[in-house]
Assembly symmetry: C2
Homo-oligomer: 402 residues x 2
């Protein structure tokens, strides 16, 4: 048995090269960018009017003139007009190009307009030279990097990509993943189990959790039979980048997964971790590059191992890894065995703090309990008492609100 | 002009009834449940073995017997065997039904097995009656509610639905939404703009942000023309539950949106909020039930209004609303005008705290800046100085890590 930290290191010794693919802009949200998005022209691309009002030449006002002859109107989306002489002004709309010869915008709110055929504007305030003009290139210059590769594409990034004309984007192609539920006791979701059977649920849980990476795993079920297990896994090792197994890794007589994997020359890097739940986790890799995560079959165990080990490892593949959040324990907690204990917790974000409230369950078989919690708090081995207010790493499976 | 709080109240006076639809389990992740998920049988459905080892009758041990005759093996997924007499044991595997006549499981780790044809097991520890058995119904009883309606379906909920045999689920049907970008200056993403034009980007940003609700909005563009605007909006008011406009709501001569909406009997509930950015936001509703959010055209303004007003309102429709997170300002900030100021911030989750670090931009036209930030911190009017360490409501557009 190895420690949690050693298991994490052994997993991190393995990586996969992720390929790229092109997606249309409307389907790019949530994907991870694999190119650099640059400004195709200056941001803004011209001296841009930011208020509705009149465009003037500041020097005229400076020389004592508060009255301007309005010579025309300049809408957004029209080529720029030219101010004929310094006492002239052009009505301008937000988003328009600054007229030639003008340098300052006076909003409608602080001018008075008079006259019919020869309309004039009178300033009612002291203007500041250059006000209400968003000067060309002040945000970004043409060619500047705006979005770096390995950025997850959220709404602002989609907007920037639209602005620079990227109607298709190069993004990370998700790895091919197979999830294999093992066990004679499992029947399909749409079947009615006999009294001693249960429906397969871990595969559905893990498949859903992989959607955050846009991974669409293929799901399989194998029964507890060594030859059948070996044959099936041989084929899957050829085709997939990652195999995730659930069940068949304990001390039971029909736990054939480690034996089958070793027969197939999958190198075992560890089997069993000093943790609860999830002790029997088996991890290995194949010379083809396929990485194998064989989780215990208990639903809480398999989901805990996914969140603690596979999720951070996938984050690293997508170059989005961050250290775990630290959360404050809201009450004292005692755990006797000298193992790392992953306590189920509800997470509360309150008054600027991240709080973790332990949720009492009935052990690693209690999958209904996962619904009532938000994540796992990692309480290290080597101590038994964990005090209210102490900070521990949080592995949450909920979005902590955006 | 009204306050931010008044605008929020006026928006919250409106609601929409959301319909239901059926989706398959594999596509249900992230959807909002609209039925009750109950235990179809007890959880666990039988007295379930939780360790590989032998099943014994505790009374035999209590009466002095540490030796048991192994009479058979009971795999997971097999009907239960029956212990013939109190000195007999059955080898049992994790997930198996507890054999009849047994009440206690002794793990392989703490027994010694001897013999060939008549195999015997000797206990090496003091067992506890009932150990390593997950008793039928201890987690949930048949018929108990496990997931309530209006729950967002994450991985644990998908697992529970699989367990109870729900291969299709009744979920909230997203409302029909149209996003209408207005302005003569806008060209499509795949077009090359003239020097005085820009590509349409707000619609792409807002469309992506709506995906979190599985809303697939239809996108439109209308030019600055009163009759054209009125005609187009008349058709959209008939068909959609929510219209989101961007641009055309300021004081400009070609800002026809308020006029067109009022001609179409869309009741204006407010126009202009005492805030920066996003002052010209116009909000109304039509007797058909359609709700109209007409945001300013500046990209930072429209996205800020989306995050501060439309997103919480949508959360309420889906009955998922929570009060905004409070985040700690990391440095002093000064803002002179007596308006609510939505400061762009980067969010850092550090040592159990939620920190908001102001990001300096170039005003409401600076859409590249949205990429560098994570959300808006709401700094109220009536004061000009905001001090490091103070808590303010955060409207984040990033997932705060799960």
């Amino acid at each position: 048995m190895i420690t949690v930290a050693a298991a994490e290191r052994l997993i991190n010794d393995h990586t996969l090269e992720l390929e790229s693919e092109l997606v249309s802009l409307v389907h790019a949200g949530g994907r991870v960018l694999k190119e650099t998005i640059r400004a195709d022209r200056d941001f803004p691309p011209f001296n841009r009017v930011t208020m509705d009002g009149i465009a003037i030449n500041f020097d005229h006002w400076k020389q004592g003139g508060a009255d301007f002859l309005i010579q025309g109107t300049q809408a957004a989306g029209s080529p720029p007009l030219k101010i004929d002489s310094s006492n002239c002004a052009v009505e301008v709309m937000t988003g328009a190009v600054l007229p030639e010869g003008a340098d300052t915008i006076i909003p409608y709110e602080v001018i008075e307009i008079s006259g019919e055929s020869n309309r004039r504007a009178t300033l009612q305030v002291v203007p500041k030279k250059g006000q209400n003009v968003h000067m060309q290139g002040t945000d970004r210059l043409e060619g500047a990097t705006i979005i770096k590769p390995w950025t997850i594409l959220g709404a602002p990034e989609i907007g920037v990509a639209a602005t620079v004309g990227k109607s298709t984007l190069k993004v990370v192609k998700p790895p091919l993943v197979a999830i294999i539920a093992t066990g004679d006791e499992l029947v399909a979701v749409d079947q009615t189990p006999l009294p001693h059977q249960i429906r397969s649920s871990n595969a559905a849980t893990l498949a859903d959790a992989l959607h955050r990476w846009k991974i669409e795993p293929d799901l399989f079920h194998i029964v507890d039979d060594l030859n059948g297990t070996t044959d099936k896994l041989a084929g899957l090792l050829e085709k997939y980048h990652i195999l995730i197994l659930s069940g068949g890794v304990s001390m039971g007589k029909f736990d054939y997964v480690p034996q089958a994997l070793e027969q197939l020359q999958v190198t075992r890097h560890f089997h069993k971790i000093r943790q609860r739940p999830g002790k029997p986790f088996w991890f290995g890799s194949h010379k083809s590059g396929t990485v194998v995560f064989a989780f215990p079959g208990n639903p809480v165990s398999s989901f805990m191992c996914f969140n603690r080990y596979l999720k951070p490892w996938l984050s690293k593949l997508f170059k989005l890894h961050k250290p775990p959040l630290m959360a404050q324990l809201t009450e004292d907690l005692h755990f006797e065995p000298d193992l790392t204990y992953f306590a189920q917790v509800k997470v509360e974000l309150d008054q600027g703090s991240i709080l973790a409230q332990p949720v009492v369950g009935h052990g690693s078989g209690d999958l209904a309990n996962l619904v009532d919690a938000d994540g796992f708090l990692e309480l290290p081995g080597g101590k038994n008492h964990f005090s209210k207010g102490e900070l521990y790493p949080l592995y949450s499976y909920r979005n902590l609100r955006s």
